[in-house]
Structures are given as C-alpha cells and as structure tokens.
C-alpha cells in the first residue's frame, strides 16, 4: 500500500505519480490522505490500480478514468467520474451534480444519493445509486444503464436516446420522450447483474424500466430535407 498525503505533497505530484503507473505496475494499491475536498483528484488514470481516497473530494474526482478502481471514502463533488472510459468508481457517501456525466464505460457506484443531472449525456457507463437521484438526471443520455434503488427527481431521461433507467422507488416526473417500458426477461437478467455489481440489497422485480420513446430521433421527419 502506497500512501500519498495530498495536503503535503500537492495535486500535481499526486496525478503525475498515478499517471506514471504502467499496466504491469507492482504498486497496485494507493491510499490518499487529507483530500479535504480538493478538485481533480486521481483524474486521467490509465492503469489497473486501486486508489482509496480517505475523505471527501471536490469536482471531477476520477474524471476520464480508465482501468483503475477509485474508492472515495466520503462524499464526492460535482462531475465525479465524468467521461469515465472503464474501471470502477465507488463513492461511499453522496455525490453532487453531474455524477458520471458523459461516461463512456466502466461502473460508478454511489452508496448514498446523487444530485441533479446524474448521468447527463452518458455514453455507455453503468451508474448504480443506492439512494435517490436528483432532477434532470440522464438528460440526453445516449447509452448505458442507471440503477436507482431510491427515487428519481423531476424530468428523468429528458431527450434520452438508447440508455436504460431502472428505478425502484418513485419518479417525480419523466422528461420529454422518456417513457416507462416493459421489463422483459433480458432486462431482469441485466438488472440482477448490475445490482450484484453495485452491492445493492434489492430485488430486480421491484424495479421499473424507463427509456426513450424514440419520437424525437428525427426532428420532423416529414420535412427533413428542408432543415
């Protein structure tokens, strides 16, 4: 276990050190102490390492992550795991707005609640939230999955494309072109795998599925040539 004191050694040194880890590094476990809400902690990682952040983080923790597992033992600020490509990010507490924004892959697990715009413009990431998610979550979500063990706020999935949303509790309102959809066996199977991956104590049968009605895919097909 490598320990890095962020307050003493600084952000640039932290990220440079983590970026220097190769695929075959033998320094696979890292502990970051004294994060104190700093921004851009462990961003742009690209190695199969495990990073434990002992405290809460500011904006964009684990942004653009590849391969690495980043575990925040606290709450996370806006844009956590934004544009993640692969790997896993776990937040023990709550996550602020834009969690998992534009993520292309990997898994984001939020043990508490996620604020507004969770999964905005997501492009393949899986987001698993043990608690609730805020308003305008999954706005323009392209692909991937969001699992919400609690409730969803206003305008879930507004203008979404092919992403899937599984919500156990209530949905305050659905956004434009987002509808409830049938839970077929393949969705139950997928959800069970996601719940297991996220360490959620919930049954797939308790969830409803939401997604795009696909009525906004072409702005006005009758006049497409005139746009």
């Amino acid at each position: 276990m490598q320990t890095f004191d962020l307050e003493a050694q600084g952000l640039r040194a932290l990220n440079a050190t983590l970026h220097a880890q190769a695929d075959n590094t033998n320094q696979t476990k890292w502990e970051i102490i004294n994060p104190k809400g700093s921004h851009a902690i462990a961003v742009g990682l690209d190695a199969p390492i495990e990073v434990n952040v002992k405290g809460s983080t500011g904006y964009y923790c684990a942004g653009m992550n590849k391969q690495a597992t980043v575990h925040v033992h606290g709450s996370a600020g806006p844009g956590t795991a934004e544009n993640m490509m692969s790997g896993t990010v776990i937040v023990e507490g709550d996550a602020s707005q834009y969690a998992g924004a534009t993520g292309h892959g990997g898994t984001l697990i939020i043990k508490g609640n996620a604020s507004s715009r969770c999964g905005i413009s997501m492009k393949g990431i899986d987001i698993i939230v043990h608690g609730n998610i805020g308003h305008m979550s999954a706005f323009m979500a392209q692909s991937g999955n969001i699992v919400v063990c609690g409730d969803a706020g206003d305008a879930l999935g507004d203008s979404c494309y092919e992403a899937r949303f599984f919500v156990r509790g209530s949905v305050k309102s659905l956004g434009a072109d987002c509808i409830e959809k049938e839970m077929r066996p393949e969705h139950i199977e997928l959800l069970e795998e996601l719940l297991e991956r996220g360490g959620c104590d919930a049954k797939a049968s308790e969830f409803k599925r939401y997604g795009s009605a696909r009525t906004l895919y072409n702005f006005d097909v009758d006049n497409a040539a005139a746009y």
Binding site: G44, Q142, Y161, N223, A226
Partner: protein
C-alpha cells in the same frame, strides 16, 4: 405590361417594398410551405461593418517602410505561453478553425491537415472527435472540447497539441447544433455512440460545468490529465467580448478564440445566424481591452475568426490587437467548395455557386461537406491540401506586404494607429479615426 390603364391614366412604376423584399417574401413562402424554420451554414450574410470598412495608411514621411522581398517581416506566432510547457509555435498567424468530422468528410479533414501542415500552421477538430487521418496529417492539431463530448476520450486528449474548450460559436452564440440523420454514416454513428440515421443534437452548454468558477476547475482537470503540457484555449462567440474574454482569462485560459457572427461553417437556424451575435469587427477591441486591463495582452493570445478572406483582413485583425486569426469558410472555398465548375449541380439543389450553404444536408456537389461515398470521390485530399497551402501562403504574403508598407518588421507590430475607417460605424467599432479626421465616435475626452 401597358403603361396606362383603359382610361388612359398612366400606371405608376411597380415598386418593390424595402421591408417585404423578394428575399423576405421567399422566406415567408418557404415557411408557409414547410412549417419549419430554415437551417443553413455560411454565417451571417447580411451586410455588417467589416474589415473592408478599414484602410491602412501605409508609410509616409513620418513612417519608414520596409523593402518588400528584402527586409524581414516576421509572421511566426507562439500560442499558449501562459501555462503550457509545450506552447504551439506556428510559422504563420493563420490557423484552421474547428469543423467536425461528420459535417466534413474524412478526405476533407485530411486535406485541411495536409494544407495547414505544409503552411506551418495548426488545424482543429470539431464536434465528433478526432480521426486518425486528421491526426496523422496535421503536424499541429487542436482538439475541441465541446458540450456534446461526442468522441471525447483521454487518449485523444493526450494526442492533441492544444485543447480548445468551446463555449460558443460566432454563428450561434448560445445555441447548440444538429447533425441531420442523412449524414450519420456507420463511422460517424460509432464515433458519437448513437444509432445510425437519427438526428444528432449537440448541446448548447457543457454538461458538467456552469459559469466561470466551474470553468476554472474544468481547466484544472484538463491540465492535470494532460500534465500541464498543452495550451488550453477557450473559444467564445462574439456576444459580450469584454466580459467573456475577462472571464476566460480569469478561469485560466492560455488562448482566447473569438468568433464573430460572420463565422459560419456551423449549421443552425437562419434567423439565429442573422440576428444573434455581433460582427467580428465590433468584438476585437473590447476583447483586446479586456486583455490589456488584466495586463495579459500578448501573454494570453487572442485568435480572431469570422469573415477572414484575404491578407488585408489578417493584417487588420492583427493591427486591432489579435495575435492570430482562424479561417473556416474560406478554407472550404479554397478546398473547392462553391466552385462554379459545379454550377449545374448547385442549380439542381435550387441554388448557385457562391450561395450554397446547406452544408449540413450532405449533398455537397464538391464532395467536401458530405458523408456520401459517391460525392466524396469527387474530392482529392492531396490536391485539396495543395490548394489550401497555396491559399494560406497568399494570405501570409498579402499580410506581410501590408505590414512592410506600414514599416513593421513583424506582423505583431501592426497597431490601430496604422488604420483609418471609411464609415462612422466602423470607426466606432474599431476605435480608429474616421478617414480624414482624428476622431472616432466614443473617443475619450471628446464630446461625441
């Protein structure tokens, strides 16, 4: 038509309305027929005060000219000197503006890279991500970081020579975009992670930050990911240039890219293009003043775009305080877009060479703004690159000619004092004297 009626009373001359012009009436008829607004590219077409409304004074007894062809007039520019460990060094102060793969064909992007590299300057990606042929043919490539984040990934981010965070585009300050389904080929769909054939919307604002305080943190994140090596540009539309420039600098930008309303390879509603934003000429001085007020002029570089056509435009933008310019529409024309040799095909599309602006529809007869494999065959990227190189060289030579005539041994030594304006409007916007006077509207300590 008879010149009098049945009673012998003369007709008055038929009179077209200055308000309901033939253009306005055709817009009304089109709207009535389709029920949808018109979308096009090409930037603002209305006449606005522009660089043509300025003149250089040249040297005289009080100024000493440099000998053309013999005395040096430097054109190099370094961008990103504020924070980046690897700033971009260009041979000429004319860059290629961002235009997406998707909007443009792969061979067209290749040609832009070939031409720009041969001329010693940079090209820029666009919405949709970075293509291998674009990276491979561009010696210096600026990677745009856009609200949609289509194709965004850290590997490409690290391959870039600079990152340009796009906040706004001159054609549509405050607006997003849409790539029509007919241009969404398998490859474009895969890069954007969306189904083939659907209209692909691009957001008008970034998904994970709001306002200048957030932007500062976003820039920090991008610098950390790229090791503080490459410059970070912030591109703003010509809306509130003083405040936008100030806030971009405050947020940590190395370079500010300022795009006026004539900038326009981006497609959007005609009403948006013509009625939102300010002319390029009106934006430069407020942006330069913002940099000067912050003590950052020349430390944070300013790139101006929107309506640059010739070396005089380049020189005028730089005399007003820009460090470099960017071209988009002019680059497409240099590649062969809107060429009269395709006139019969433009006619079939209901337009004419020079006026074709439906670049977003994918039917470009020149094979440049299309994903149609048959149309793309018409365009040769090697020849296109050669033409762009030639054009960039001519722009540079023209600008140098003017700079030497003003006695400048480097393009960056051009200054507002070298200019006069032909109209009151241009004098006010450029803050240079109306020709024949020593006054411009708004000049300090004058009563007008």
């Amino acid at each position: 038509m008879k010149d009098h009626d049945a009673r012998g009373i003369p007709h008055t001359t038929p009179r077209q309305s200055a308000t309901f012009t033939q253009d306005a009436n055709s817009d009304i008829r089109r709207a009535a027929a389709t029920g949808i607004y018109d979308i096009r590219g090409g930037g603002a077409k209305r006449k606005v005060p522009h660089f043509d409304d300025l003149l250089f004074l040249g040297a005289s007894i009080s100024r000493y000219p440099l000998e053309g062809y013999r005395e040096k007039c430097g054109t190099d520019v370094t961008l990103g000197t504020r924070h980046a460990s690897n700033p971009i060094k260009l041979d000429i102060p004319i860059t290629i503006a961002g235009m997406s793969f998707g909007a443009l064909s792969g061979p067209a992007k290749e040609a832009l890279g070939r031409g720009a590299s041969a001329a010693g300057t940079s090209t820029t990606t666009g919405d949709g991500g970075m293509t291998p042929e674009e990276r491979g043919h561009s010696s210096k490539l600026v990677y745009q970081y856009l609200p949609s984040r289509y194709g965004m990934n850290p590997d490409d981010l690290r391959k870039a020579d600079a990152i340009e965070i796009v906040v706004g585009q001159g054609a549509k300050p405050g607006g997003g975009g849409m790539l029509l389904g007919q241009k969404i080929s398998d490859r474009v769909a895969e890069m954007r992670n969306l189904p083939k054939g659907i209209d692909q919307r691009s957001s008008c604002r970034h998904p994970d930050w709001t306002g200048p305080d957030d932007l500062e943190i976003k820039i920090l994140e991008l610098r950390e990911i790229t090791g503080w090596k490459v410059p970070i540009y912030v591109k703003v539309a010509g809306a509130r240039p003083y405040f936008d420039t100030t806030l971009a600098v405050k947020a940590g930008a190395d370079v500010v890219v300022l795009d006026g309303m004539q900038g326009g390879t981006a497609a959007t509603q005609d009403v948006f293009i013509e009625h939102v934003g300010q002319p390029t000429l009106a934006c430069i001085r407020p942006a330069v003043r913002a940099l000067q007020d912050l003590g950052m002029h020349r430390e944070v570089q300013l790139i101006v775009s929107g309506g640059i056509r010739n070396g005089a435009d380049v020189a005028k933008a730089m005399a007003l305080g820009a460090d470099a310019v960017a071209i988009g529409t002019a680059a497409l024309i240099a590649l062969g877009d809107n060429d009269p040799k395709w006139e019969s095909e433009y006619n079939k599309l209901g337009t004419t060479a020079g006026a074709y602006d439906d670049w977003h529809e994918g039917q470009d007869p020149a094979g440049i703004t299309t994903q149609d494999p048959e149309l793309m065959k018409r365009f040769d990227p090697v020849e296109g690159g050669r033409r762009l190189r030639n054009y960039l060289k001519v722009l540079t030579l023209e600008a140098q000619t003017i700079a030497r005539a003003c006695g400048k041994n480097h393009m960056h030594n051009l200054e507002p004092e070298d200019l006069v304006a032909l109209t009151m409007e241009a004098a006010a916007m450029a803050q240079v004297p109306l020709a024949g006077t020593d006054w411009y509207p708004g000049k300090p300590n004058t009563s007008y």
